[in-house]
Amino acid sequence: MAGTLQVSVISPEQVLFEGPASAVTAPGFDGEMGILPMHAPLMTLLGNGTLRIESTGGMKQFRVSGGFLQVVDDTVRVVTEEASAVA
């Protein structure tokens, strides 16, 4: 598996997470979706649920509701109005 993903989780008030990750599991509008490196460019809406990021520093989880996710060139951007870290 080549490369890693650059992931950022952005809410209106702050950038919640920014860093490399090997995989992202996001709550899509119609079900969970997994994103690995070399993903095709994608833009999708998110539903409600838990966003999981397999980062180098361990698994990070965020509760998100709504917003969207964009993948371009191994850069994943999660932009959501409501996001909070789950311990």
Binding site: S8, I10, S11, P12, E13, Q14, V15, G28, F29, D30, A40, P41, L42, M43, T44, L45, G66, G67, F68, Q70, V72, R77, V79, E81
Partner: protein, 286 residues
């Protein structure tokens, strides 16, 4: 020594004032730091949303969204004015109010009926003094506006725009360009002006389709515009207050120097006079 005591009292009083203004300056400086951090933190989200909308909004689909509708004529528009709850920040509130009044006059000259929505005690007080009707007023938004505050301000207005009751919503706020430059600015919130496309267009897999994505992102974009305006206005207020209080502190210091000089020369004159009197008295005895 009556004059001397009077001068001493004034020096004391100016010193106390300086103590207050210096404290306010320091408080405003630290609040400004936090407020500018929030302005910076809000930027990535605005950029990300704007970029996506710029990619997805095409003239063909624009007609389908009420928030992108361009009304043929402006009959009734809303102006949202953001001001501070507190004064002692120089011409900050005055400038915002002046900008808002200029905009209202401009819109009314175009034949539109303008309803005014105001945030902040200073703006409310001024428009009440003018005797102008205020459609809604809010004073509960403090130094740390949240995205929820922005939503509560704008959602009702965008709904009315979508229904066709309003032909536009504008917002007047202090744009935070730097700590020294926070010009009052008016921007059109709805109809939404999609940001210009930048960079190379790419083919994306879209899920669901472009229209659905745009539909759910437009309200977020509008709310974010208002959130950004709120955050920038708070930062502007604090930086204006810091500058005003710095000037006040400097002026107080100048005044103290001057008063002290006057006091010392009065004291010296008095001593000289007393010595002259003693010498004169001694000479008279011989």
């Amino acid at each position: 020594m009556a004059k001397g005591r009077e001068l001493k009292g004034r020096i004391k009083s100016v010193e106390n004032t300086r103590k207050i203004t210096r404290t306010m300056e320091m408080v405003a400086a630290s609040k400004m730091k936090r407020a500018t951090d929030r302005v910076a933190a809000a930027r990535p989200y605005a950029l990300a949303l704007g970029e996506v909308l710029a990619r997805l909004v095409r003239p063909e689909i624009a007609e389908k969204f009420p928030l992108l509708r361009q009304p043929a004529s402006k009959r009734k528009v809303a102006l949202l004015l953001l001001t501070a709850n507190r004064g002692l920040c120089g011409a900050f509130n005055t400038n915002l109010i002046r900008e808002a009044r200029a905009r209202i006059a401009e819109l009314e000259a175009q034949g539109a009926e303008v309803e005014v929505h105001i945030v902040g005690k200073k703006g409310i007080a001024f428009f009440k003094y003018l005797g102008r009707s205020i459609s809604s007023e809010r004073i509960d938004i403090g130094d740390r506006p949240s995205a929820a505050d922005a939503a509560s301000l704008i959602d009702a207005l965008t709904d009315r725009f979508a229904k066709g009751e309003l032909d536009g919503v504008h917002i007047t706020y202090a744009k935070f360009q730097s700590a020294l430059s926070t010009p009052p600015t008016t921007e059109q919130v709805v109809p939404v002006v999609p940001p210009a496309t930048q960079g190379t267009p790419r083919d994306f897999l879209l899920a669901p389709d472009a229209e659905t994505i745009v539909e759910s992102l437009l309200p977020a974009y509008v709310r974010n515009m208002v959130y950004r305006a709120l955050v920038e206005t708070v930062a502007g207020e604090q930086s204006a207050r810091r500058t005003a209080m710095k000037n006040a502190t400097d002026n107080a210091s100048d005044m103290i120097t001057l008063l002290r000089r006057t006091y010392n020369s009065a004291r010296q004159a008095q001593i000289t006079q007393e010595i002259a009197e003693i010498v004169g008295g001694a000479a008279a005895l011989e």
